[in-house]
Structure formats: C-alpha cells, structure tokens
C-alpha cells in the first residue's frame, strides 16, 4: 500500500505518521507537499498533526486553502480514505469534510497526556480490527480539542453512528471526568456520513510501538491497511 501524508507548512507529526507506516508496518508512505494538486497513485491520505501555518488565525483555518486540499476533497468524494489526526482533524472540520468546529480546551491550556477512548463504531475502515466498545489508551496533545456542533448535527452524528470515539475512563465509562477538554458529548473522533473520512484528536501514531510502552494506536493503521487490502481484493474479484 502507498499512504500519502500531507505536509503543510507547520505540520509536525508528518514524520511520526511516516515512521509508523513505513518502519513499523512495512508499507510505503509518501510525503505530499501542500502545494501538490494531484494525489494519483495513493491508496489513502493522512492529514497529520502539527500547527499548520502556526495556527495563528484559528486551527486549520488557513491550511484549508492550501492547493492540496482541493485534491483531498476530490479524493474523499471518490470514496478514498482520509484520516485527520489532531491538527489534521481540525483542518478537515475547517474544510467542511467533517461537520462541527473546535473550541479552545476548557482549561484554556495545551494538554499533553494519555487518555482513554472507547471505540463506538467498529464498522468503519479505520476501526475494522477493533472490537466494538474496545477501550484504547492513546495520548492527546492539543490546545483546541473541545469539539462543538449544533444540536441538530449532534443528533445526526449520534443517529448515524458517526461518533467513532468517545473519551472514557480506563474501564470504558463515558463520564464528564474522563473528558479532558470539554468536548461536546465526550467526542474524541467522528466520521463523515459516507464513512471514508475520519478525524480524531488523539494521536494513534504516538503509541504504535512497544518500545514507547504502548501499541494501542497501531490498530487504527492496521484497520486502514486491512480495509484497503479487502477493497483491492474485491476489485480484483469484480
């Protein structure tokens, strides 16, 4: 597989995603400069974390205008898998590929720590190898992860199983105490209605190796690869 990792000016988790895909999982990872206009030859796209354009205006607000974002929109509309992590999630929100917006963390501070998330929907291409209800221990690192949307959209997200991850306790209980940033409904990650675009605030690429003490995040990337493999097989059979 060949996974494209978009490099915006100010991206800083691009190397980490590339490391997991190539060095840990043995697949091809291709950095894609934000001024590119084509994504041909790539099987899936990751928008990595970081501070695109310094996040000086509003997180992700300038990156959505990068030339590559038109290509990302086309890629997604054709059913391609797009994963946005942290700043990548924020960019997907600003670009309208996912509904809602990010507010400043309730504490008003940057927070870097391990949290637990519950896999609410194991039927997405990003969580296919998870058990439904499985609890993953994954770190967050952001100042603007307080997800917000209007009640109608929230109801739609809930009705369509678009909320893929909730912040939870180590035992899997979704409680206010387990919510690190004030996020609406403890939302840690959502997908689009079609299911091929996912955004999440936690960083699965930071916990995908035993030497770092935890490989819970690997399952997200493995699920993506598994979904791609199945899709290719299906295409061959068809």
């Amino acid at each position: 597989m060949n996974i494209g990792v978009i490099v915006f000016p100010g991206s800083n988790c691009d190397h980490d995603c590339i490391h997991v895909i190539s060095s840990v999982l043995g697949q091809k990872a291709t950095p894609v400069w934000h001024k590119e206009t084509s994504l041909t030859g790539l099987d899936a796209i990751i928008l990595p974390g970081g501070f695109s354009y310094g996040d000086y205006l509003r997180t992700g607000a300038i990156a959505r205008f990068s030339p590559v974002m038109n290509a990302v929109k086309t890629f997604a509309s054709e059913g391609g898998m797009v994963l946005g992590i942290c700043n990548g999630f924020q960019i997907l929100l600003e670009a309208g590929l996912l509904p809602g917006a990010m507010l400043r963390n309730k504490s008003l501070s940057f927070i870097c720590k391990y949290v637990h998330v519950k896999v609410e929907n194991a039927a997405t291409p990003f969580t296919g190898l998870c058990e439904s209800g499985q609890v993953l221990k994954i770190p967050i690192a952001h100042a603007d992860g307080n997800y917000y949307t209007d009640p109608v959209t929230l109801a739609a997200l809930q009705a369509n199983a678009q909320i893929v991850f909730h912040y939870c306790t180590p035992e899997g209980k979704v409680t206010p105490e387990a919510n690190p940033n004030g996020s609406l409904d403890n939302i840690a990650g959502i997908r689009n209605a079609e299911g091929n675009v996912l955004g999440l605030m936690p960083h699965p690429e930071r916990c995908a190796e035993d030497i770092l003490g935890n490989h819970d995040g690997q399952v997200i990337f493995l699920s993506m690869l598994d979904a791609l493999k199945k899709a290719k097989l299906k295409a061959v059979v068809a």
Partner: protein
C-alpha cells in the same frame, strides 16, 4: 536611547555600557573615534553576554576533551559521538532577563534561540528541557511569571514539534525579582555532516534567511549584561517577539539545505543579531566580511544601520554559500516561503565592512569584535556572611513530633511536588522517541535507526552552591550523573548554564570561581567533558543577587534502549534496597527550609570516589537486568524518594513497607536529610541477595530496607540507644493528593 546618528559623547558611551578603558581600546583598535553605528557594534560584542569578559579565564578550568568529543566549546553547540555514525549535539542557554520583563515572549524566544543553536549545527532537534527558578507562589507576581513562562515555552516548543521532555522547577524567595529560565536542547546529527559558523572562502556569497528584521530586541545583549531595578520594566521593547511558525519553516529549510552541498558555513542571529553572526563567522575563518544592508529584508522603512545591525529579531540565519550556488539556496528558501537575500560576501582583509545605500557605515576588524574583547580577572573574596550561612547548630534544632505530617508537608512543597501541571502543557511525545517521559529521574529518548537511547537531565541545587560554592558545583555534577545512571545510561557529556549575580561584586566572583572549580573537578572524576555552555551574570535586582545557580544539562548513552530504567516501583513483593550510606546531613536541605525556615549549614558531604563506585555498581545491576526501578535520593531525602517511588508511575501507584534498623543518627536526618551518593532500588524478591552481594563486592554499602506493595507507605525506624523509634504511615491517596495537586492548589489562590 535615540537610534539616529549622534555625536559620540561621554554619556552616550556610558549608555552603551562601555567603560572608559574599554572605549580607549576601541579608539586604539580603529585608530580613530568610532561612529554611532560602530559604537553600537562594539558595545554589544563587548557586552558580558557576548564576550564572556569576566568568565573566560575561569572557564578554561573545565575539562572539554575526551574520546567522544566531536565538537567542544566555541561553536553554536557541542557534540559527542554516540556511535552508528551519529553524534548528540546539545547546549543550554539562559533567557532570564527577558523572561522577567515579559515572561511569555521571553521564555518563548529562549526556546527559539536554543533550537537554532542546535539546527545550525546540522542536527535535527529531538528534545528540550527547561530549568526554571521562581519566587514563592504565595505572591501573585510569581504566579504570573510561572504561568507566563510555562505558556511561552509551551507555545514555542509545541509549535516546533520538538518535545519538552523534562527539566526542573525550583521555588525560592531569592529568585522573586530575578527568575531563571534556562533551556536545554538536544539534536542528532550525522557525525560527518556537522556544520560550523565559518565564513571560509574569499568571494563566497553571504545570505540572510528567515524573518524580516524589525526594531525589536535592539540592545538585548546589553540589557542582559546589566543589573535590574524598578525601571527595568520599561525595557520591554528590548524583549524580542517569537514566531515559532517561521522558525519551523527555517528549521526544515536549513535541514534541507544541509542535505545538499551548497553551504560553507551557517550561524544563527541570536544575541547581537547580524553583528555577532557576521563578525564571529568571519573571525573563525580568519577572514573579513562585507555586508550591504540595502538588501536586508526589513519590517519597516527608514531603519538605520545602527538598528539593522543591533536588532535581535528572531528566526534569522546568516549563511555562507559556495560561489555560484546563491540561486540554489534561494530556491529552497522560497519553497519554504522564507525571506532570503544575498547580503554580502566574504573578503580576505579581516574587516567587517558594513555598507548601506552604497556608503560605508562601519569598518571594524572582525577579530577585534569576536575575540579581542576585554578580559577581566575580577577581584574575589568570600562574602562577610559566609560563616554565618554555614553555621548550623543541630542541637538547637527540634525534631518534628509527627513525621508523617512532615513528609506530607515536604511533598506539598512546590519544589518537591509533582510538576505535572507544568509538563502537561508541553508536548512531550511528538517525534515518537520519548521512552521515559517527564516524571522520572531523567528523560529517555530512543534513537531511531539504532538500538540505542539517550538519557538527559538538568540539575542544580542553588542553595548548596550559596552555602558552599565548590561543594555545590560538585554535587550538581554528581546529581546529574546519578539521575542518568538511575535511567540506565552512562554519562557522556555536559553543557552548563552558569547563572550568577553581578560579577563586579567580589563575593559573586568568589562564588563563580569556586562553583566552576567544583564542576571541573567532578567532571574530571567522572570523565564527563563540558562541550558547550553559557554564562548569565548580572542576575541582581535592587542590589540583591541570586543564589549561585550553575545549572547543568547532562547527556547519557544507553547502548541497549530496552534496558532504560524508571524510578517507580513495578510490582508488589519486590524487595527495596538502599545503596549508599546515610549521614547526618541536615544542612542546606529542603526539610530545613520548609519545616525550620532556615537555609543554613554545610551542604551534604560528597566524596567523588564513593559516588563513582555507586554509579558503576548501579549501572552493572541495571545492565544485568536485576533492577526493577532505580531512584536517586535528593530534595527531601530518603522518605521523599520512597514516596516518589510509590507515586510516580503514571498508571498505577504502589505502596511499600520499609523498616530502618541500626541507625543512630537523628531521625529527621535519616528520613529527610540529603546525604549524597544514595539510590533506592527495587528488585525481584529472589534476586535481592544477589544484588546485595554484587554491591558488597563493588564496595557499595547496601541494605534491604523493605518490600513493595499495599495501599500505604509505612516507614518504621527502630529505636537505638541514642534515638527513639518513630514511624511514617500514610495512605497512597493522601500522599498523591499532597504531592500531585500541590502546584494546582498554589496557582489557584486568588
């Protein structure tokens, strides 16, 4: 100070911080009076901050060589060989004065500056540490400073994508009007691809890359070379404003340029900006350099040559490229949307010649600025109060009635308490190398592409240094090394950031000289070379000088990454072993300050040979796989160390039952004294005997003192002829609340 051209008057010379003798030397070098721009250039280059005029003669005592040293002091950063064709590039710098005036920007640009020092060398920065000193948190100003500094570090480091993995925060009234902000950065570079700040090759083009030059930070270096008073707040315009986004672009552009064969030399524009980078690069190569300011990218019109040369605008680099390669360099800079321009060329006459609009505005021998500045062997005498400081009558000191309450009080003291509130605001995991994150004795980072890891730590106890500067300097080295050893690493190099008061005061100079000698002797004993460093003098406000605070950043190597060690207990049933001997060391302790409100006495005794044997033994035990956890005893002594072993596992706290027998010393000294050369180990129950035998064979005192497990920390001390029995007994929840939430509590005061 007006920035337009002015006639050179006595007042103007004094405003520039040059003494009469120094000005005479300027006239002698030039063979004429300097013009206004030249006066400014001399004043920053000969400032204490840039010239090290008071410290240079003494810094020579530090050992700077060794088989691993690839680059010693004198470049932007030092470098040591870590094998696999790689070297660790590191340095520590202070940003004290700016952080007091404007904590957020002062600290942020401190981070920016040290990062540039590292990537200028061709190394990708992989970790930051911060050593901070503030006054007590019951004063709102100190809370404001702490919050501002942490937010500034967080904003800059996080945006850069370089993890801040540790450091230290110490609170003491002495830093109330002079906080310390020291930042350490470590990068990894290919050993044969290190870059230097050299303007070699006459005729080669000189390029300016990065942010545009503005009027910020003019005379920052001179400010950093002066004492403080009430008027210092008015110096806010001398504090630079950071732009981490541009720095991130500059980092990536520089590393991309360094992959090519286009550059001859490179240096960042830090203190004294365009001035220091140009004359230092020229001087190192024995060349001259001609700058044409007309081409310097600038933020506003009508900037004078004086302002352009002295601006400390951040995120700028000066590069010397190979002849004819200008366009290739500019192309890569444009890719990263950076301003870049050819602003001069290397000359063979040794002169720094500055032109503006076709007119020569300054002409000075480069070497005279970079190397021939004044050097002083300033007078030094011990302060008159030194004897009083060291006098401590233990007999007059009452022991606590309730040792559990005393332990809880110490755990609640912000200097000892958990720094979670601080490090949760730092991204400490980006780059996915952080094997041991903040909260253990040292941070450990794996080195991708190898089986190795590096451990890093920053340490200094300023109170020990004021009580006994020589011993304080030695202990700083010993403790840093001990922290690395506890992480399973062998110390391989050191950088120092020497924070002292006003060097024109003989007692400050006395403290400085002895501290440096202590550091030098300990480094010699441990075979740890000093490869880079920084001196910050004039940490004096309204006549009050800070404690001598030589903060050390030390780097250690772990050959097999998976053998990295952490400080917290791992498993119920494990045996707890104390390595090293406990003496009646109460002087200079945190216990004495918190409980008895005294900062007095002799600091703990240190014997370098004993310390070395402890290191060898601990490292051997860890490498043999016999150790489950290792934690050194420092602030708060054995009781605090044991409590930390119980509490600091981020996932799950574990209790312990400890029994101390056969001790005849005071109970407060046994529990809270800070005797050096001690490490608390936990080992599997069935390897305890083996561990004790190995320690004995290696000449290290060792005793099994307890067992891991349960929901409480219990320490029983048996009665002896001289002292009664006593007990510490607290449940983990209470301990965790005191220790874990102390900073939040202190900061939430209205």
């Amino acid at each position: 100070m007006k920035q337009s051209a002015q006639p050179i008057s006595k007042d103007l010379i004094a405003q520039h911080g040059l003494s009469d003798d120094e000005y005479k030397k300027v006239v002698e070098i030039l063979g004429r009076e300097p013009n206004f721009t030249e006066l400014g250039i001399f004043s920053v280059m000969w400032s204490e901050h840039c010239s090290y005029k008071s410290s240079r003669v003494h810094l020579k005592k530090l050992p700077t060589t060794g088989p691993r040293v690839v680059q010693g002091p004198g470049e932007n950063a030092g470098a040591v060989d870590i094998g696999d064709g790689l070297c660790a590039v590191f340095k520590m710098e202070s940003h004290n004065h700016p952080s007091f005036i404007e904590p957020y920007q002062g600290a942020a640009t401190g981070v920016g500056g040290i990062l540039r020092d590292i990537f200028t060398m061709g190394a990708r920065p992989i970790a930051l540490l911060d050593s901070l000193r503030f006054g007590l948190l019951d004063h709102p100003k100190n809370r404001h400073l702490l919050k501002g500094v942490v937010a500034g570090i967080s904003s800059y480091g996080n945006c850069m994508g370089v993890p801040t993995v540790g450091g230290e925060v110490v609170f003491n009234e002495i830093y109330a009007n002079n906080p310390l902000v020291n930042v350490f950065c470590l990068g990894i570079a290919k050993k044969d691809r290190l870059f230097k700040g050299t303007a070699a090759g006459v005729g080669n083009p000189v390029l300016y890359v990065g942010s545009k030059t503005g009027r910020d930070g003019i005379h920052g270096a001179t400010m950093a070379s002066d004492s403080f008073d009430e008027a210092s707040e008015s110096k806010r315009p001398t504090v630079q404003v950071g732009d981490p986004f541009t720095e991130k672009l500059l980092l990536e552009a520089c590393l991309e340029l360094m992959e090519t064969d286009l550059l001859v030399g490179i240096q960042d524009m830090g203190a004294a900006g365009l001035t220091s980078s140009s004359c230092e690069m020229a001087s190192r190569a024995g060349n001259g350099l001609e700058l044409d300011l007309t081409h310097v990218p600038r933020r506003e019109p009508d900037m004078t040559p004086y302002e352009l040369m002295l601006s400390e605008s951040q995120e700028r680099m000066l590069m010397v490229a190979k002849q004819g390669k200008e366009e290739d360099v500019l192309r890569i800079c444009r890719k990263w949307d950076l301003d870049a321009a050819v602003v001069g060329r290397v000359t063979g006459d040794g002169i720094l010649r500055v032109k503006d609009q076709g007119k020569v505005v300054a002409e000075i021998p480069a070497k005279s600025l970079a190397e021939d500045g004044p050097k002083y062997e300033r007078p030094n005498t011990p302060p008159p109060y030194q004897e009083y400081l060291q006098a401590l009558n233990l007999d007059a000191l009452k022991e606590p009635k309730d040792y559990t309450a005393t332990l809880l009080e110490l755990l609640d003291a912000p200097t000892i308490a958990s720094k979670r509130w601080v490090y949760q605001q730092y991204d400490h995991m980006v780059r996915t190398n952080s094997m041991v994150r903040p909260g253990s004795d040292a941070a450990v980072l794996r080195i991708k592409g190898t089986n190795k890891a590096v451990a890093i730590t920053a340490d200094c106890n300023g109170r020990y240094c004021v009580l006994h500067p020589y011993m304080g300097g030695m202990i700083a080295v010993a403790e840093a090394a001990r922290n690395l050893i506890c992480s399973g690493a062998e110390p391989i190099g050191l950088t120092d950031c020497l924070n002292f008061g006003n060097p024109e005061r003989p007692e400050v100079m006395w403290q400085f000289i002895l501290s440096v000698e202590g550091i030098a002797d300990a480094c010699q004993a441990f075979n740890v070379p000093v490869v880079s460093g920084n001196v910050s003098f004039y940490n004096e406000t309204n006549g009050l000088n800070i404690y001598p605070t030589p903060i050390l950043g030390m780097v250690g190597l772990i050959e097999e990454a998976e053998k990295a060690m952490t400080q917290w207990f791992k498993q119920a049933g494990d045996a707890i072993i104390l390595l090293g001997a406990t003496r009646e060391d109460v002087g200079g302790t945190e216990y004495l300050r918190v409980v008895h409100h005294r900062e007095q006495g002799e600091p703990p005794y240190l014997n370098l040979d004993t310390e070395k044997m402890l290191h060898a033994c601990t490292l051997k035990l860890i490498r043999k796989g016999l150790v489950q956890s290792a934690h050194d005893c420092s602030d708060g002594g054995l009781a605090v160390a044991l409590a930390e072993c119980c509490m600091s596992d981020p996932a799950q706290p574990l209790g312990a039952v400890v029994r101390l027998t056969g001790y005849t010393i005071r109970r407060d000294a046994l529990l809270f004294g800070e005797s050096q050369s001690r490490i608390v180990l936990s080992v599997k129950a069935d390897s305890a005997d083996n561990v004790l035998r190995i320690a004995q064979d290696m000449g290290v005192p060792a005793a099994k003192i307890g067992t891991v497990g349960g929901e409480r920390l219990v320490i029983d001390i048996e009665a002896s002829k001289q002292a009664s029995a006593c007990r510490v007994d607290a449940d983990l929840k209470t301990l965790l609340d005191k220790w874990g939430n102390s900073l939040e509590r202190a900061l939430s005061q209205a």
